[in-house]
Structure formats: C-alpha cells, structure tokens
Symmetry: C2
Subunit: 157 residues, 2 copies
C-alpha cells in the first residue's frame, strides 16, 4: 500500500484517506465549514505555509470537494466553496469534533457548542443504524465482502 496511490485501493476508508488524510487537510476542511473561502483567510487563520495551502486546495478541487469560483476579474480572484460532495464530509468532521469534545477537552470544557436549528437545542452527534435506528457500537457490527471486494476481504470498507 503506497501513500500516493491510496485512491486506487479497494477500500473505501483508504480512498477517503487519500482525500482528507494529509497533514492539514482536515484543518482546511474545518475552515470551509466555518465559511472561510479565500486563500488569504485560510492562510492567516491556520498559519499553514502558502505552498501547502495551495496544494491542499488544488487537491480538494481535484477530488470535487471544493469548487474554485471566480468572484472578480482584473485581477482574477477565486473563492473555494464546498460542493455537495464536500458538504457530505460533515459527518466526518462532526464525529471528529465529538471525539475531541469527549476525550480531549481540558478543565475549561468545550470550546464550541453546536445548536440544531430544527429543534433549537445544543446537541451531540449520534451515529445510528440506517435500518433499525439503534446507536451503532463497534462490537455489534459484522463486516462481510461486498460486490467490489478484493479476492480476500482485507479491508474495512
């Protein structure tokens, strides 16, 4: 398994890691969900090197997670905006935040709370089974080969 051909692996986790598994990628994504859109703003908020930022934005555009949209001519200026594919990364971001809220906070407590506009309450994200609606626990899940499985099923998904 080579890092630079991860997207060709027959494993959905490996392929997603090819998109978000780089150093800085998840932090750039965090900014996207906070509605940051411009190069300078990403750069100054994250302190990432400009070179890496350019790389990561290019990679996200290549994988269809961000759209590069011109917002002015002369000089041409672009914004980076989440596509639907990018918005679909939200559960990943929220589950990461939630693990941090649970296991990595200090005595001051959570830095941010999340309010669900629909019900008006501060919430935690909960992952459930699409079929029965029960919360998912690692021990209660059995994996088996799907149609796109390699000969020996050697991947989590």
């Amino acid at each position: 398994m080579k890092w630079d051909t991860l997207e060709e692996e027959q494993c959905s986790l490996a392929r997603t890691v090819a998109v978000i598994g780089d150093r800085w990628s998840l932090l750039v994504l965090r900014e996207c969900f906070l509605r940051i859109r411009r190069f300078e703003e990403f750069q100054s908020r994250l302190g990432i090197t400009r070179h890496l930022l350019a790389d990561r934005l290019k990679k996200f555009v290549k994988f269809g997670v961000l759209r590069r949209v011109k917002y002015q001519d002369r000089p041409a200026r672009y914004e980076y905006i989440l596509t639907q594919r990018g918005l679909d990364l939200y559960p990943i971001v929220m589950s990461i935040v939630h693990w941090g809220d649970t296991h990595m906070v200090d005595e001051r407590g959570r830095p941010l709370l999340h309010q669900h506009k629909k019900c008006g309450k501060d919430f935690d994200p909960v992952m459930i089974c699409s079929e029965c609606g029960e919360p998912l626990l690692a021990r209660e899940v059995h994996t088996h080969a799907g149609p796109g499985a390699p000969k020996p099923a050697a991947a989590i998904g």
Copy 2:
C-alpha cells in the same frame, strides 16, 4: 497553529487531528478495528515502514487509544488492543468509510458491507441530533462559543 502542538489548540477538531491526523494513522486504526493486534501483522498488511509503524503505535498508546499488552515472556511480545477511548473512534472510521462508499467507489461497487448484529441487516451509518433524532445537515447547525472557548470564537469545536 503548529503541527506539533496541535493537541494544545483550543479546538476539539485540532486536538483529535493530533491523534489521528498523521499519515498512516487512520489506516493503522482501520486494522485495529479489523482485530489486527501485532506488529508484524500491521506491517505486512499495510506495507508501512517499520519505523513509522512503531511511531504510530507509540502515539496511539500515549493518547490512550491503544493498550500495549504483553502476551508472552521470553522474549517479551506485545499486542496492541483498542481501549474504550479507541473504540469510541468507531463513528469517525464509519463516517469515513461511508463517504468513500458514497463518493469514491468504482463500477465494482462497495468492497465491504456492514451488518448490524442487532437487526441483522446491512446498513449505512446515519448521523442524527442527540436531542431530536433528526438526521444532521451542515446547513442546519449553528455553532456558538462554549465554556472552553478562546476569546474570539475561531474554531469549529
């Protein structure tokens, strides 16, 4: 924001990225959930360099995600086993797999299916609001400062 002090950031995403955001970390974690426990087995399945593998395992132990358990003396041999803290990473892993299943599969389809032992059916993971039970969409969530917020609320969580 420096990569090597990420765990001290006042942001739950950044702190979690300090644990799982390295190259290879998520792939090692995948193997853990597939019940891989020994150095050689991780190494041969992933093709990761031995040096990096040793580093990543050490880091997971340091952050309490894995437990290093001696399973024989003379010579001392160890296994790496998920702690509860590690098992709690399951929603992150599943949401990553699910995004890959949705957006990165080729014509062959999903490599792996997941069966929920409780209801017996193959499922997708769905993220819902802990308060009202509705599925979570990025656009329907409002973030606001929590008790551990930095002066200007500049983090997703």
